[in-house]
Amino acid sequence: MTAELILFLVLALVAVGAALGLLFSRNAVYAALFLVLNFITVAVFYLLLNAPFLAMAQVTIYAGAIMVLFLFVIMLLGAKKLKTRGENLWQRRLAIGLGVVLLGELGVLFFAKGWRGTLIGDIGSKFGSPESIGIELFNQYLLPFEITSILLLVGMIGAIVLTKDN
């Protein structure tokens, strides 16, 4: 086992453990903190996969801005009040059964394709850098980039309209 494989396995365990923590935690604040841990481990995966710009974007936007928004709303609504009554047991069993079916389907789909390739550990310092992302983004994906700005504007206006006092 190489050092890289050991690092991958440890990080994968942390990521899956954090996701399970989100699934089973009773307290919404703990669930949000587990999700932050999961996002940070995924950012480390991005670094392993030669995507340093995305790793930093993941930490600042996902683990930073989005999760702060989540925690802010949890605090605003009151963490104690968010406790709900017990879930239906048959619904839970059905959902876990469906989840196992989904995982099986994904596994069959992926491994029937026979993706056996290995990943490149070090492609070169340019790949995935802010420079290469920027060149690709502003040459080939300029229109989607502009549409994204309109989407964010609409989202902002929508949030203001929805929470406005009448």
Partner: protein
């Protein structure tokens, strides 16, 4: 080097946990977190394939997914706050006004 199937398997596991989270939890905020987890799992698969094919396009898609997720969270949390104001609860089982 790590085989790409390991990353795909991890992505599939995270996606499934997110989907089960959406199905079994009744708290609207935690359902939202499950959706974020699913988006994140898909992003991981995109970045792994971008590495395999040595193409930056996969990473650009992840960039757009992050932007869409940010807009979605802003509107979704505003909706949850509006629902909480009218219902005094965010239990999705109690949102049955359209049931007839």
């Amino acid at each position: 080097m790590i085989p790409i199937s390991y990353y795909i398997l991890l992505s599939a596991i995270l996606f499934t946990i997110g989907a089960v989270c959406v199905l079994i939890r009744r708290n609207a905020i935690i359902i939202f977190m499950g959706i974020e987890l699913m988006l994140n799992a898909a992003n991981l698969a995109f970045v792994a394939f971008a590495n395999q094919h040595q193409s930056v396009s996969g990473q650009i898609i992840v960039f757009f997914v992050i932007a869409v997720a940010a807009a979605e969270v802003a509107v979704g949390l505003a909706l949850i706050v509006a629902i909480f104001r009218t219902k005094q609860s965010i239990d999705v089982d109690q949102l049955n006004s359209l049931k007839g």
